[in-house]
């Protein structure tokens, strides 16, 4: 099982996480549903997590500093998701929509 991971080149990890990150980025930029936005942000974070884990292994870092970062990012991401979802619920209650393009009430027009 472990050997499968070792047989993969580092470049494969980079390609995969680049693809994941790009999907997340484009999702954030071009989708309007706030929930999907939040999911895309998670995707971007996880792409970075994957890269961190892969590079830790690749560099042979016995203290696993990169993987430590992964845990921090996960915690932050969980917190962010909780806050973000709470905001979305409140927005939905008030506007009956989860569409971010309507959230421009602070603009002076």
């Amino acid at each position: 099982m472990l050997s499968i991971f070792h047989s993969l080149e580092i470049s494969h990890y980079i390609y995969l996480s680049t693809v994941l990150f790009s999907i997340g980025l484009f999702g954030v930029l071009f989708r309007r549903n706030a929930i999907i936005l939040l999911m895309c942000i998670e995707l971007m974070l996880n792409a970075v997590n994957l890269l961190l884990a892969a590079f830790t292994e690749y560099m042979g870092d016995m203290q696993a500093n990169g993987q430590m970062f992964v845990f921090f990012i996960m915690v932050v991401a969980a917190a962010e998701a909780a806050v973000g979802l709470a905001i979305i619920v409140m927005v939905y209650r008030n506007t009956r929509k989860t569409d971010v393009s309507f959230l421009d009430q602070l603009k002076d027009s």
Binding site: L25, V28, L29, R32, V100, S101, L103, D104, Q105
Partner: protein, 629 residues
């Protein structure tokens, strides 16, 4: 506690109390506190009399605070109670107490009584600062402070626009004089390295400084005195200052503040004694002012305006005394003038009150039956100022005349004419107000009422002082030694003051002239306004018209000074504001609008756009990093 601190802090306390909580207290309590507090100040000062008298070199001191130290020059809040300042302090607080008491009744109907009394207390505080300060700095503090209070009180009834204008006029004219005073102080710092009286004045007394320097300092300080004491050319504010409530005219614009200039010159006696040129200037300016004020006073119909011009004229008399080096005489006249002019103003206030806020004497007449106390006290004041033998004004004016007689015979003749006019206009005022037929058209004689005791008591006390004030400095020919004030003031002066002991024959001649002057004024006015029954005139032609229009001096100032300045201002406005500034700012305006229109599109409040900007910016930064790393 230091007695000087007490003297100063009482009125300050009254100012703060009345200013902060006065409007919540009943009127009588608020004004009562403020009156009592000035009285306390008077008592504290009076209790120091024997201490000051025993100590010839000056005195009770109080070094309160050092503001800052500039290259070894100390700027201190220091005070001293010496022979000169205790004299002034007693006049200020003594007359001040009476006028406060008077105001309690006079301002009773006003809605802002506590404001009035807090200003009045603040004035007393500043005036005390002026006379008690032992350096030019404190004197200047007080000098500006009384100017401020004068402004506030002239404009006390600020809803009337012309009253506000009068207040501004007083302030601006005083500022012109203050500039001279400031320049004089700068010269003193530059050349003597200090502002303390007891450093600067002895240094001047040594006589090693050049006459030019002493003369310039003296003249600059005198310019300050001109503004404050209403001398030609800066006197026109004082008649306008009558817009203020009458007690203010009595306290500030007759008895105390306007004599600050005379105090300043007396304080710097040593300087003026060494600057004959400055003395000569003071003499002639004082003479011109005395004559001009008396002439205008002849044909004014406003009861307060007559007294205002009379004040201008009497201040001229005091400066004449200073100009001939008779400093004691000047202070003597300050004192007697404080008594009788305060009395006359308060009497005028009582009349104004009695006839329901009217001031035109052509609408009065025959008031003596209805206002007996006011009439008798006003009569005493008139007699005192006109020089009725053995009243206070007789002695002080006679002393000035005698001193001028020995100095310059031309000046003496002019001054006698001014004294003659003084008697004439004062009796004109007295006769038109209290004698003859009642001439009121829009009210009845039976409406006129005498004022209550709070107003008549100060009148009676001041009348007694006006009668007996001459005792303070009896002339040599009566008591064969120096008068009380003369020997009292001697330790203050660093240079011995010459006193003219005239021969008895000359003295008799001078007194005869003085009595003739009094009689002429009395008989002329009596003949004209009582026997012939002529009403207060408003001449439409000839010299009378010039007089009643105050020599057109305001108009001349307007044409010569105000108009050119306005024109210059308009010119600058057209050139710089309209042409330069407006064109520049209005041409920048569209550019800013354009930039704004573009920027507003970027910041459209939509989160998607912000995200795109963010990602684009990161991409650009990363790209740049790739290229240049």
């Amino acid at each position: 506690m230091n007695p000087i601190a007490l003297i100063l802090l009482f009125p300050l306390l009254g100012f703060v109390l009345n200013g902060v909580v006065g409007h919540k207290l009943p009127k009588s309590i608020a004004s009562g506190i403020s009156t009592l507090i000035v009285l306390l100040s008077f008592i504290t000062a009076a209790m120091q009399w024997s201490t000051v008298a025993a100590d010839l070199n000056g005195s009770v001191n109080w070094d309160a605070y050092t503001f800052f130290n500039l290259d070894g020059i100390l700027f201190k809040a220091a005070f001293s109670l010496d022979h000169l300042s205790i004299w002034m302090t007693l006049i200020i607080t003594g007359v001040g107490t009476l006028i406060h008491l008077y105001s309690m009744s006079y301002m009773d109907h006003d809605n802002n009584t506590s404001k009035f009394f807090s200003y009045l207390n603040f004035f007393v505080f500043n005036m005390l600062l002026l006379v008690l300060g032992s350096n030019f700095l404190m004197m200047f503090f007080g000098w500006e402070g009384v100017g401020l209070c004068s402004y506030l009180l002239i404009g006390f009834w600020y809803q009337n626009e012309s009253f506000g204008g009068a207040a501004r006029k007083a302030f601006v004219m005083n500022r012109i004089g203050d500039l001279g005073l400031l320049l004089g102080m700068f010269l003193i710092i530059k050349n003597f390295g200090s502002l303390e009286y007891n450093v600067v004045l002895p240094a001047i007394a040594e006589g090693s400084s050049s006459t030019v320097l002493i003369s310039s300092i003296s003249i600059l300080l005198f310019i300050g005195a001109m503004g404050k004491s209403a001398q030609i050319p800066l006197f026109t504010w004082l008649p306008d200052a009558m817009a203020g409530p009458t007690p203010v005219s009595a306290l500030i614009h007759a008895a105390t503040m306007v004599t600050a200039g005379i105090y300043l010159v007396i304080r710097c006696q040593v300087m003026y004694s060494l600057a004959p040129m400055a003395q000569e200037l003071i003499l002639w300016i004082g003479l011109a002012t005395a004559l001009l004020g008396a002439l205008i006073g002849l044909r004014q119909n406003d009861i307060k305006k007559v007294l205002a011009y009379s004040t201008v004229s009497q201040l001229g008399f005091m400066f004449v005394a200073l100009g001939v080096g008779a400093y004691t005489t000047a202070l003597f006249h300050v004192t007697t003038h404080a008594f009788f002019k305060a009395l006359l103003f308060l009497g005028a206030g009582s009349v104004i009150h009695g006839v329901h806020e009217r001031q035109d004497i052509s609408q009065m007449g025959g008031l003596k039956k209805m206002m007996p106390i006011t009439y008798i006290t006003f009569l005493i004041g008139t007699l005192a100022i006109s020089g009725f033998p053995f009243l206070s004004g007789f002695f002080s004016k006679d002393e000035i005349l005698a001193n001028v007689f020995h100095h310059n015979i031309v000046a003496y003749i002019v001054l006698v004419i001014a004294a003659l006019l003084t008697a004439t206009y004062m009796f004109r005022l007295l006769f038109l107000t209290f004698f003859g037929e009642f001439r009121g058209t829009d009210y009845k004689l039976s409406d006129v009422h005498e004022s209550n005791w709070k107003m008549t008591l100060p009148l009676i006390i001041l009348a007694i002082l006006s009668i007996a004030g001459g005792m303070l400095n009896l002339p040599h020919y009566l008591i064969h030694e120096d008068g009380f004030l003369a020997s009292w003031l001697r330790p203050t002066f660093l240079i011995f003051e010459h006193s003219n002991h005239t021969e008895i024959s000359t003295e008799i001649a001078l007194i005869s002239v003085a009595i003739f002057v009094f009689l002429f004024g009395f008989i002329y006015s009596r003949n004209r306004y009582v026997s012939k029954g002529i009403n207060a005139e408003t001449p439409t032609s000839g010299i009378g018209k010039v007089l009643s229009n105050k020599f057109y001096i305001d108009e001349i100032y307007n044409k010569l000074i105000v108009r050119p300045i306005e024109f210059f201002g308009d010119l600058l406005f057209a050139l710089f504001d309209t042409l330069l500034l407006y064109s520049v700012t209005f041409s920048i305006n569209p550019i800013l609008k354009l930039v704004g229109r573009f920027n507003r599109k970027i910041q459209n409040g939509n989160i998607e756009y912000y995200l795109i900007y963010m990602v684009a910016a990161i991409a650009i930064l990363l790209g740049l990093n790739l290229f240049f790393a």
